[in-house]
């Protein structure tokens, strides 16, 4: 095995790294554990088991309990999801509606389960506590449905409106369908808006998010946004501080069917105004533009962010996905293998469901 001091302190200490360790080590965490409050304890045994252990439980009492559970259960089963298979929804403002029930009380709660819909009117807001997955804040004018809810995947459908998601589940476990693309959390926080036409806008505030429709995919890191249109899917992501003309040209390239001359002119603007950080945008254009235009994008991107070893102009022009992934790695915006892993398992699941 090779010695690698930076990795595991094996081999001779690299003097430069040793010095960095010495200087920065003074900032290291050194506080003792505080006194923590009483721990909330997980309920380990079902209530029925506890009842059976109690002295007063007789056969008659047990029969009563079973009958009562059956009757009540049959009444509420269709409307009220069981604990553990539903999330707590809390009213923040106005009267958010969960199916036919309006949560009127200030701070009132209800449980949102599989197949159910949460809707806010123009005056109401709500939050959804997704337990260990994260939280979602639902803005006014939103309609949100639960499509899937299990240990491996939480899938919502945002039909219209705006949600803010803060997700701490592992990447790929929180997915939001919109009418024009699927948003896949790759960690950690983003805002997703869908208008009445089904067009969307995704803004990432922390970590990064994948946006996909068919074979068209976009990766949106913190500080960047991405538009999406029905039938066309996600556009090209860009940083919000890019110039206005850069952003306008990009929208035309993504969503308008201009002539060859018009597209050339828009691409000229994007290439001319791209800053080093806009390598994000140019990287996406490499797989979207026609082969004739791809060479120009390659040349500009290579100036802003040199292609890593193993990436060639010829390979990129023919759309070599491995080379594209290698170049993405140079951007330092996220580990694309997380996405490839999710994409593989997602496609397999979809295939199995068909």
């Amino acid at each position: 095995m090779d010695k690698d001091y930076l990795w595991d302190r094996s081999g001779d200490a690299d003097p430069e790294i040793k010095k960095l360790e010495d200087v920065l080590g003074r900032l290291r965490h050194n506080r003792a554990a505080p006194v923590f409050p009483e721990m909330p304890v997980r309920m380990r045994r079902p209530i029925l088991t506890k009842l059976l252990e109690t002295r007063w439980t007789s056969a008659a009492a047990l029969a009563l309990v079973v009958v009562a559970i059956s009757v009540v259960g049959s009444l509420v089963r269709s409307k009220q999801p069981a604990l553990g298979s539903a999330w707590k929804v809390t009213q923040i403002q106005g009267g958010p509606r969960l199916e036919s029930r309006v949560i009127k009380a200030s701070g009132g709660t209800a449980r949102l389960g599989l197949g159910q819909t949460l809707e806010t009117d123009s005056q109401s807001k709500a939050s959804i506590d997704l337990d260990e997955i994260g939280t979602v804040e639902v803005e006014p004018g939103t309609r949100l449905r639960v499509l899937r809810l299990n240990l491996e995947l939480t899938q919502l459908a945002l039909e219209r409106g705006t949600i803010h998601a803060a997700i701490w589940a592992p990447p790929g476990q929180f997915v939001v369908d919109t009418p024009s693309a699927v948003a896949v959390d790759l960690g950690c926080a983003y805002t997703l808006h869908v208008d009445e036409s089904g067009a969307g806008l995704l803004r990432t505030t922390l970590g990064w998010v994948g946006f996909k429709l068919g074979n068209r995919e976009s990766f949106i890191p913190a500080g960047a946004v991405c538009r999406t249109k029905p039938k066309l899917g996600p556009g090209t992501p860009y940083f919000e501080d890019a110039s206005e003309s850069f952003r306008a040209a990009l929208v035309k390239l993504d969503f308008e069917r201009g002539s060859v001359e018009e597209r050339n002119a828009e691409l000229n603007i994007v290439l001319a105004e791209a800053r080093p950080k806009d390598a994000l945008t140019l990287w996406h254009l490499l797989s979207r533009e026609d082969e004739s235009e791809r060479g120009r994008v390659f040349d500009r991107l290579a100036k802003l962010l040199p292609a890593p070893p193993g990436v060639t102009r010829e390979g990129i022009l023919r759309g070599d996905s491995r080379m594209l992934d290698l170049w993405w790695g140079r951007l330092g915006l996220g580990d694309i293998s997380l996405w490839r892993h999710w994409e593989g398992s997602w496609s397999a699941k979809r295939g199995a469901e068909r």
Partner: protein, 202 residues
């Protein structure tokens, strides 16, 4: 489809992934026992989890918020974890779960603070950013920290966990739940970029 993940795995395998995997598995087993005990209300077990994971949480926060705020936020993160621990179903993912809470708490900090300190390339602002005292050594630490914080996000966290918190690469992977190959690649790429930044400074 081939992906960068393939090359990362090959890279990791060629540099002793076996040893890393073994370390991760051993740690995960011990941590799972502690997490189970803590879920059952054992405060001592939660205290041990704090001892094992406080450096990770501290480093994740230091990569994102002003150092003067980090200690308080570490406490916040563990309090959130304590409150939510009973709902954690996959206890083998405790580290990744806790890391995500820490990243999310850093995000909340920036949302709540109108005067959020920007991660900056300007080393002249390093002392103001750092919040540390004014001795020469502290100033040097603040300058280097500011340089790390100006690197791409993917490099900041592993470098701080390695150089500030003193964790090894295998420890970082085992604690955060990230793939060892990714951590290793990001450490090496990050240190190269840090060298360039510091060379420009000199």
């Amino acid at each position: 489809m081939a992906s960068v993940g393939d090359s990362v795995d090959v890279f990791a395998a060629s540099l002793g992934r076996e040893a890393v995997t073994n370390l991760s598995a051993r740690d995960a087993t011990g941590d799972s026992s502690l997490v189970s005990a803590a879920q059952a209300g054992d405060r001592l077990a939660f205290g041990q989890l704090y001892e094992q994971y406080a450096r990770m949480v501290h480093g994740i926060l230091m990569a994102r918020v002003p150092p003067g705020q980090v200690d308080d936020l570490v406490q916040d993160v563990f309090l959130v974890a304590l409150r939510r621990l009973s709902a954690l179903r996959d206890i083998s993912r405790f580290g990744a779960w806790l890391a995500a809470i820490a990243r999310n708490r850093a995000n909340d900090y920036h949302r709540q603070s109108m005067s959020a300190v920007e991660v900056t390339d300007d080393f002249s602002q390093a002392e103001a950013v750092s919040g540390v005292s004014d001795s020469a050594a502290d100033s040097e630490a603040a300058v280097i920290l500011a340089a790390i914080r100006s690197l791409p996000e993917a490099y900041r966290e592993p470098l701080i966990l390695r150089l500030v918190e003193g964790m090894t690469g295998p420890e970082i992977a085992a604690r955060t739940g990230l793939k060892p190959g990714s951590v290793r690649v990001n450490l090496h790429r990050g240190i190269e970029q840090l060298r360039e930044k510091l060379a420009q400074r000199l």
